[in-house]
């Protein structure tokens, strides 16, 4: 924590902030130095002790982020299959914004929006983010505007950084009848960093958010991502996780369904091997009548990997007619792997329909036998079963071009 104090002061000195902002940052920094990184003793981190993992994988972490002027974007990393808007972050710093294909007056992207949330959080990683994220960004989609092309947010790192803590914070505001579809694409070349990303979404009436998070490519960073979504009436949020590439990753999502007829969908795939440890923690708060949520998470685990799914449906006593559903399934391909789940229901209203299911086990030998008796090799049969298992989640994606893109990225052929 010594490191943190000196690095925090250094960061504060170099930034140009108002008194209020400094006070806010100080408060958060104090909270973080008091709490430190979450460990196993905290219920939410029971299955993933990030404190230990950082110690083991990174060791000493540096919290100071020098302002380097990266401008070169390696064209190779950009997605060429679909036309899209871009936000490119290299080592946590914004280097490119591109909303050329959208109507200028309808979209606003503001940097240096140091919004000060006074509400306290019980999450030391958010404190860390608040204290150190040097800028916080804001994307505003104005009333009645439907974004034409998806926005891809590139999270790139290069080998100039290592053992670094990178913090990023973006607020998204979707005004009435607007829609946003976006992809978070992780492309890391850097090693052994702790990346901490915090997104706030505010969805007004009738707005639609589609957020796809792709962590496909092999990298040995530690990643924490928190999505905080607040939904007004009739809004829809769809969040998809492809959790594969990083050494450690925890995706947390909290969704407040505050308006009637709002709905939230959370889908995820864990496809892990080589000692990786990934987690999705979803909390859906049904606060008013007639809201709906649906969660589907599937894991395929190989070679000492661990996946964790913590899902919670909370139903307030006002929230009658809630429809909540949770399903988590896991295939443990070999005996070194581990699947942990904690699917929770917390319900205070009686006229509701809530259920969850969880199943885990090995690949079905009978199915493999069936396929092999029809001429497939063991490897092909296995691959077919695993892909068939996972593709159900990808097929939940409601945006066709993006579904195709993700299938491509994941290496699934079109016939799935």
């Amino acid at each position: 924590m010594e490191n943190f104090k000196t690095d925090f002061e250094k960061t504060l000195k170099e930034s140009n902030l108002s008194e209020k902002e400094i006070a806010f940052k100080n408060l958060n920094a104090m909270e973080f130095s008091k709490q430190g990184f979450p460990n196993r003793k905290i219920e939410d981190w029971k299955f993933s002790d990030i404190n230990q993992i950082i110690k083991k994988e990174i060791g000493e972490l540096s919290f100071y982020n020098a302002q380097s002027n990266e401008t070169d974007v390696d064209e190779d990393v950009l997605v060429s299959e679909i036309k899209h808007n871009k936000l490119i972050f290299i080592n946590g710093q914004l280097v490119q914004t591109d909303f050329r294909s959208e109507e200028k007056s309808k979209i606003e992207f503001l940097d240096n929006q140091n919004d000060i949330e006074q509400r306290s959080v019980e999450n030391s990683l958010i404190n860390l983010n608040n204290a150190l994220a040097n800028k916080s960004y804001k994307l505003l989609i104005k009333k009645n505007y439907q974004i034409k092309h998806p926005l891809i947010i590139y999270h790139i790192s290069n080998n100039k950084v290592t053992s670094q803590n990178i913090n990023l914070k973006i607020n998204f505001e979707l005004e009435e009848n607007s829609s946003l579809k976006m992809i978070d694409l992780v492309k890391d070349k850097a090693n052994k960093n702790f990346i901490n990303i915090f997104y706030n979404f505010s969805l007004e009436k009738n707005s639609v958010l589609k957020n796809y998070k792709i962590d496909q490519f092999e990298n040995n960073n530690i990643r924490y991502m928190f999505n905080n979504i607040k939904q007004s009436s009739n809004s829809v949020s769809e969040t998809f996780y492809l959790s594969k590439g990083s050494t450690f990753s925890k995706n947390e999502i909290t969704c407040d369904l505050k308006g009637e007829y709002s709905s939230a969908f959370v889908n995820g795939i864990f496809s892990l091997d080589k000692d990786k440890h990934h987690e999705i923690k979803a909390k859906i708060n049904h606060l008013v009548e007639n809201t709906k949520s649906y969660q589907l998470v599937k894991s395929v685990l190989e070679n000492k990997s661990v996946s964790v799914y913590q899902g919670k449906i909370y139903v307030d006593s006002k929230a009658q007619k809630t429809d909540g559903y949770q399903l988590s399934k896991a295939i443990l391909v070999d005996e070194t792997t581990e699947f942990n789940a904690k699917p929770e229901l917390e319900i205070y209203a009686d006229d509701v329909k809530c259920s969850h299911g969880s199943a885990s086990g090995s690949l079905d030998e009978n199915s493999i036998f069936y396929l092999m008796s029809r001429g497939l090799s063991y490897k092909e049969a296995r691959e077919l079963l695993i892909n068939g298992f996972l593709v159900e989640v990808i097929n939940q994606i409601t945006d066709e071009p993006i579904k195709k893109l993700i299938k491509n990225l994941y290496g699934l052929k079109n016939e799935y």
Partner: protein, 478 residues
């Protein structure tokens, strides 16, 4: 005044108290009290040392606080840890010498201690506050070599068995309440079934808290030796008092090779009044160890009483091919709170476990199912099936499901299902159309909802439990 009390008794018919002179240990928790308990029971030195070791750990341990129902801080120094009817200073040799008031109490509770009067052939060990008052059908059991007596008697007569197994499932290094029990436990039942014996009748313990300001800390130890079988029943009641009373029992089950233990509980401690005043804190540790190959432990519980129920009857499936089962109905009404469930810890190969939990909450109550299924890496070919259903009546109550699922073995399967719903209007309408009033209709539907669990209970208990389910929910509809 008297009428008022009678009025109260209508709701909880076991709510009377017996006016009997008590012999108590001084209030408070300290080494002297533990020595006092040990001394009065004429315990051997190893047990006193064991108790003191547990007490030393209690001093440094903190009460757990992760549970859902919160309760006001318990002042452990303000409790009596030993209370016995005065006539028990010298234990009566036979039922004839027993204080008639006690016999009357148990008759009122529907538990006649006179063997002649009993028709249904269940051997009973009755525990009144801190001591066991009577054990019936001893001769029949002794013929078969079965030991069924109070644990105090077992400590005197079968010290080797007690020493070998006491604390082998719930060690003194366990959590706060379990360790507290180890330090101050006063009485309870002891069962030993010799190899190859199938116990010819149901064994039963009846717990009764009578004195006020008393914590009941009983300890039950059941050992089923190779190839044996036993079915054990447990019932509980307490008088209605405005203060909360603590009940922190430990139950240890050990099943050796090919043995089977079936443990059924109908818990009907005083739940407190309509406004949530008074009632028992039922903080019980129950754990079974399937130690041998092919052993089986099955827990069945019907939890309708207590202000707060907080317990997780668990199975440690150590032996290969062992089986653990948990069937539970928990009903909370008014201001009752329950946090209950089970733990299935799979260690051996080919182990199977099954969890069926039905929770019903009404009024202002709060109900939580909390469970753990843990399949360890070496526990090959194991499987678990969990089903937990909750039923809510009204929107002032809560129903929660918190399962922890850990699968570390690729050849093992875990399946978990949970639903939460209410009694649908269609169901109610259908029943009412056929001439049932709404309360009868609800009772019928609830009994149907609980059927899977009620079926697991022994006959006499099932009838009682079915009635209890109806009574507990009275006044919760409309």
């Amino acid at each position: 005044m008297r009428e008022k009390e009678l009025e109260k008794l209508k709701d909880y018919k076991y709510g009377f108290s017996t006016d009997i002179e008590n012999f108590k240990a001084p209030k408070g928790l300290n080494e002297d009290v533990i020595k006092f308990i040990s001394n009065i029971k004429k315990e051997p030195k190893w047990l006193l040392d064991w108790r003191l070791k547990a007490y030393n750990r209690v001093k440094v341990l903190k009460e757990p606080n992760w549970q859902k129902p919160k309760y006001p801080k318990i002042d452990y120094q303000d409790l009596y840890y030993y209370s016995a009817p005065k006539s028990f200073k010298e234990k009566p040799k036979s039922l004839d010498e027993l204080d008639p008031k006690l016999i009357e109490t148990y008759n009122k509770l529907g538990i006649p201690l006179n063997e002649q009067k009993r028709l249904n052939g269940i051997a009973v060990d009755a525990v009144f506050d801190s001591v066991s008052v009577a054990t019936t059908f001893k001769d029949t059991l002794t013929e078969k070599g079965i030991i069924f007596c109070s644990i105090s008697e077992a400590i005197q007569k079968h010290p080797d068995l007690v020493k070998k197994y006491l604390g082998s499932v719930i060690p003194i290094t366990d959590h706060y309440f379990a360790t507290l029990n180890s330090a101050v436990f006063t009485d309870g039942s002891f069962v030993y079934i010799p190899p190859g014996v199938r116990c010819p009748m149901e064994l039963s313990t009846y717990f009764r808290i009578n004195a006020s300001d008393t914590g009941q800390f009983e300890r039950t130890l059941i050992i089923a030796d190779k190839g044996s079988y036993v079915s054990y029943l447990e019932g509980c009641t307490a008088p209605m008092r405005d203060e909360n009373q603590l009940h922190a029992a430990n139950v240890e089950l050990i099943a050796l090779d090919d043995a089977e233990i079936k443990y059924s509980t109908v818990q009907n401690w005083y739940p407190g009044d309509k406004d949530g005043k008074g009632g028992i804190y039922n903080f019980v540790t129950k754990r079974g160890l399937c130690k041998g190959k092919n052993s089986k432990i099955s827990w069945t519980q019907v939890e309708t009483g207590s202000a707060i129920t907080w317990k997780y009857p668990s199975c440690i499936l150590q032996g290969d091919n062992s089986v653990g089962e948990f069937y539970s109905i928990a009903i909370t009404n008014n201001h009752q709170k329950a946090d209950t469930g089970t733990k299935m810890i799979h260690l051996g190969k080919n182990t199977k476990s099954k969890i069926i939990s039905k929770g019903i909450s009404a009024g202002f109550s709060d109900m939580t199912y909390r469970g753990l299924v843990d399949i360890s890496p070496k526990s090959e070919n194991s499987s678990n099936y969990t089903q937990c259903d909750s039923l809510l009546m009204g929107n002032k109550c809560g129903a929660h499901t918190i399962p922890y699922i850990k699968n570390k073995n690729s050849n093992s399967n875990i399946a978990h299902e949970a639903t939460t719903s209410k009694i649908s209007d269609e169901q109610l309408h259908y029943c009412q159309q056929r001439g049932l009033n709404s309360e009868e209709a609800v009772s019928l539907i609830v009994n149907g909802f609980c059927k899977e669990v009620l079926q697991q209970l022994p006959m006499e208990f099932a009838v009682e439990a079915q009635k209890l389910v109806g009574i507990s929910l009275e006044g919760s509809v409309g």
